[in-house]
C-alpha cells in the first residue's frame, strides 16, 4: 500500500463522533442544506476565530473561494502574488487584470522583501498571499506589514491561511478594522476533513458586500461533521501537536543525513537533495512525495508529515537510498 506524503493531508482520522455526524447528514440528502444548520456552523466558526459570524462565508473547499475572489476582484487591478504558490489564477482573471506581477521567493531564505512588495502596491491591486507559503512553509507577512498594506485603500489583500493551525499565526483580528482584507481557511488540514472539503472565508466589509447574496455551496454531511469537529476541537489540537512533533523529528533526521531542510510552519517539510530521482526511488518503495524539480527548482521536494510509523518507513527508505548512491 502506498504511503501518501505528497498532498499535505492530515494522516489522522477524525473521531467516531464526527464520522457519525457526517453519516447523520446523509439522512435527508434529497433536501438542500438547512439554513439553521449552516447558521450553527457559522456561529461555531465565529467563536473559533473570535470574529462575528456574519463575517464568515462557508464553501465547499477554500479553492472555490480563492478562485471567485481572484476572478471578481482582479478586474482593473494589478494582481500581485509570489512564485512559488499554487493559487488558481484563471485565464479570465489574467485578461481582466491590469497585469500580474509575481515576486520570486529565492532560496535559501525564501523571504518576501517588504520594501519591494510595498513598491509594487502603488496602483489598485489585489495582493494574494498564502501565509504560510506552500511549498516553502514560510510565514511571509506579519501583522505590522499587513497593516501597512491594508492602510492603502486601493489594495485588496487576500491571505490564504490553510495551515493556520500549524503556524499559529493569523490576520483574523484585523478583519473588523480593514474592509479590504479577506482571509481564507480550511478544515481540510488540521481538522482532518479533506474528504468533505469545508472551506470558509473571513471577510472585511468590502468582501462581505459581494458575498452577501452569494449562494452557499456545501453539503449537509460536511456541515454536520464540521459542526461536531468545532464542538470538540481538542482532537485537532492533539493531532496537530503530534504532527508538529513528528515534523521536528523528521527534520532533525534528514539534517543528520545531509539533506538541506527549510524550516517551515506547516504540516510539510521542504527539502533539497542532490540524490537523482529521489522521488522515483521512494515511489519504488511505495512512498509518494511531491517532486518540485520539474516545474520549480531542481532537487527540491515537499514531504507531508505522516503517521509516526509512516515517517519511520520514510526515514528507513531514505537511509537505504542514501547507502545505495
Amino acid at each position: 500500500m502506498t504511503i501518501n506524503l505528497h498532498t499535505n493531508e492530515n494522516p489522522y482520522l477524525p473521531g467516531a463522533d464526527i464520522k457519525k455526524a457526517a453519516q447523520k447528514g446523509l439522512e435527508n440528502i434529497n433536501r438542500y442544506s438547512n439554513p439553521e444548520h449552516l447558521s450553527e456552523l457559522k456561529t461555531l466558526l465565529g467563536k473559533y476565530n473570535n470574529i462575528a459570524s456574519d463575517r464568515i462565508f462557508i464553501s465547499h473547499g477554500s479553492d472555490l473561494l480563492i478562485r471567485e475572489i481572484i476572478n471578481v476582484f482582479s478586474t482593473n487591478r494589478k494582481i500581485v502574488m509570489v512564485n512559488p504558490s499554487f493559487f488558481p489564477v484563471t485565464q479570465y482573471a489574467s485578461e481582466q487584470a491590469r497585469r500580474i506581477t509575481k515576486m520570486k521567493l529565492s532560496p535559501p531564505d525564501f523571504e518576501l522583501d517588504s520594501t519591494l512588495l510595498l513598491n509594487e502596491l502603488n496602483e489598485p491591486a489585489l495582493l494574494i498571499l498564502d501565509n504560510p507559503n506552500n511549498p516553502t512553509g514560510k510565514v511571509l507577512i506579519d501583522d505590522k506589514l499587513a497593516e501597512q498594506i491594508l492602510k492603502n485603500k486601493d489594495v485588496l489583500l487576500l491571505v490564504d491561511e490553510a495551515y493556520y493551525e500549524f503556524s499559529g499565526f493569523t490576520l483574523a483580528s484585523l478583519i473588523e478594522k480593514y474592509p479590504n482584507l479577506a482571509v481564507t481557511r480550511t478544515m481540510d488540514k488540521a481538522f482532518s476533513l479533506a474528504g468533505l472539503r469545508v472551506g470558509y472565508l473571513l471577510m472585511g466589509d468590502y468582501f462581505k458586500a459581494y458575498f452577501s447574496d452569494f449562494r452557499v455551496n456545501i453539503s449537509t454531511p460536511a456541515i454536520f461533521a464540521a459542526t461536531e469537529a468545532l464542538k470538540k476541537p481538542e482532537y485537532m489540537k492533539d493531532n496537530r501537536d503530534k504532527i508538529v512533533s513528528e515534523k521536528i523529528r523528521i527534520e532533525n533526521e534528514l539534517l543528520k543525513k545531509g539533506f538541506q531542510v527549510f524550516p517551515g510552519k506547516a504540516n510539510f517539510i521542504l527539502i533539497k537533495t542532490n540524490s537523482i530521482d529521489f522521488n522515483k526511488k521512494l515511489f519504488d518503495k511505495n512512498i509518494l512525495v511531491y517532486n518540485l524539480s520539474n516545474d520549480w527548482l531542481n532537487g527540491y521536494y515537499r514531504i507531508t508529515v505522516g503517521l509516526p510509523e509512516e515517517n519511520d518507513m520514510l526515514l528507513t527508505k531514505i537511509e537505504k537510498i542514501s547507502n545505495n548512491t
Binding site: N83, R99, I100, D277, N291, D295, W296
Partner: protein
C-alpha cells in the same frame, strides 16, 4: 505506432570516473588509458526499463550506439545504418539523418553536451528530442533531469514542446577549473508532465511555451517606441519577438532593429559600439539561459561591460517564459567587470507573458 529514434554516444561520461572533465577529442584516449568504464549502458537501461508505452516503434542505431541495449527489452524496433568499431561525432550525425528519413517523430539520445551539439547540428528545431543525461559535462538544459524523468517524457503523450538551450562548454577551460559557456543552439523537448503527481504547478499559470513566447512578443510589440534602437540578444524568444515586429533575426546572434527594420545583424562588440554612437535612444532585450539564469557574461559575450555601460541598466528589458523563470533561483551576471556586475545586481522585472512579469533577484 509512434516512431522514435534511439542513439547512444558509447563513450559519453567515461571521463568522469577517471577525473577528466569530458571526452572531447584526444581526451577519450587518455580516459581509456586510465581505465575508464562506459556509463551509458546503465543510463539507457535505467530509462528503457520504465518506458511502458505500447505504441512505440524504435528506429535504432547499430551495435553499441543503440541496438545492444534495446534488444534486452520487448520493444519493436528496426536498426538503421552501420558503424565501424570506432565511432565519432560524424557517425552520430549521419545516423540521425537516416532516422529522419525513416520518419522518426521523437529522438532519444544518450550522451553529454557534445552529443547534444551533434544532435542540434542535424535536427535544429525540427523533431523533438529527449536527452538522457550520461556525459560528464551536462550544462545544457536540454537534458532530462534524470534517467527516470527521460522515461516519463517518453511515456507521456503531451504535445507540449519547450525549447531548451544547447550550450558549448569550453572543455579545456573546464578542465582548468573555468566555466566558459557559449549558446550553441536550441532543441525542442516535450514537456515533462510529472506523471507521478497531480498537474497543479507551483508556477501558478502554466501555458505552453509557444503561447508564452507569442504573448511576450505581442506585449513587447505593443510597447515598442519608434525612435528607439532595439538590440535583440540571442534566443528563440527574441526570434519570436523579431518575427512579430516583422523582421528575421539571427537565432544565436545579436541583431539591431530600428523602426521595424534590421539595421545590424550578428553584431560583435565593435558593431554594437558603432551603433551606440549613431542612435540616441537604445534598449537591449535579452532572455536568461535556462538552468543557470545568466543574462550577461555567458552565451552573449558581445554584450561587454563597455556596451552595457553605454546603454545603461535602465534600458535593459529581460524576457522569459513562465516555465523558464519558475525554474531559476535567480538571474545572474558575470561580465568580467565588478563595477558593471554590481550595477546590474539587485532586482529586475522579467516580462513572462502578456501583462505578466516576475520580479526576481539578480546575483
Amino acid at each position: 505506432m509512434k516512431k522514435i529514434g534511439l542513439i547512444v554516444n558509447p563513450i559519453a561520461g567515461m571521463g568522469g570516473s577517471v577525473g577528466l572533465k569530458g571526452t572531447d577529442g584526444e581526451v577519450y584516449k587518455k580516459a581509456l588509458e586510465l581505465g575508464a568504464q562506459p556509463v551509458t549502458p546503465q543510463r539507457i537501461e535505467e530509462t528503457l526499463s520504465v518506458v511502458n508505452r505500447k505504441d512505440l516503434f524504435f528506429i535504432v542505431a547499430p551495435g553499441k550506439m543503440g541496438e545492444d541495449f534495446i534488444r534486452k527489452f520487448d520493444f519493436k524496433y528496426e536498426v538503421v545504418s552501420a558503424i565501424d568499431k570506432k565511432t565519432n561525432a560524424d557517425d552520430t550525425k549521419r545516423i540521425i539523418r537516416e532516422m529522419v528519413e525513416k520518419g522518426i517523430e521523437l529522438l532519444v539520445f544518450v550522451g553529454g553536451d557534445g552529443t547534444a551539439r551533434d544532435v542540434y547540428d542535424v535536427l535544429g528545431l525540427t523533431i523533438p528530442v529527449v536527452g538522457i543525461p550520461s556525459g560528464v559535462k551536462m550544462f545544457s538544459p536540454v537534458f532530462a533531469l534524470s534517467t527516470f524523468a527521460a522515461a516519463e517524457i517518453i511515456n507521456n503523450t503531451s504535445e507540449q514542446i519547450i525549447e531548451k538551450e544547447v550550450l558549448d562548454i569550453d572543455e579545456k577551460a573546464f578542465r582548468d577549473g573555468k566555466l566558459g559557456a557559449e549558446l550553441y543552439g536550441y532543441l525542442n523537448v516535450p514537456k515533462n508532465l510529472n506523471l507521478l503527481q497531480s498537474k497543479k504547478e507551483p508556477s501558478n499559470v502554466s501555458k505552453p511555451d509557444k503561447i508564452s513566447k507569442e504573448e511576450i512578443s505581442q506585449y513587447i510589440l505593443e510597447h515598442i517606441e519608434n525612435d528607439v534602437l532595439y538590440i535583440l540578444g540571442p534566443g528563440t524568444t527574441l526570434a519570436t519577438i523579431a518575427s512579430k515586429i516583422g523582421v528575421e533575426k539571427t537565432l544565436l546572434g545579436i541583431d539591431a532593429v530600428y523602426s521595424a527594420q534590421i539595421v545590424g545583424k550578428d553584431l560583435n562588440e565593435k558593431g554594437l559600439l558603432d551603433l551606440l554612437n549613431k542612435y540616441n535612444k537604445i534598449k537591449i532585450i535579452v532572455t536568461p539561459i535556462g538552468g543557470n539564469g545568466f543574462i550577461f557574461g555567458r552565451a552573449s559575450k558581445q554584450f561587454t561591460p563597455a556596451v552595457l555601460n553605454a546603454i545603461g541598466e535602465e534600458n535593459i528589458i529581460v524576457v522569459a517564459t513562465d516555465d523558464k523563470i519558475s525554474r531559476l533561483e535567480c538571474l545572474r551576471v558575470d561580465t568580467g567587470d565588478d563595477g558593471t556586475d554590481n550595477r546590474l545586481k539587485g532586482h529586475m522585472k522579467v516580462i513572462t507573458g502578456y501583462k505578466t512579469e516576475t520580479l526576481i533577484e539578480v546575483k
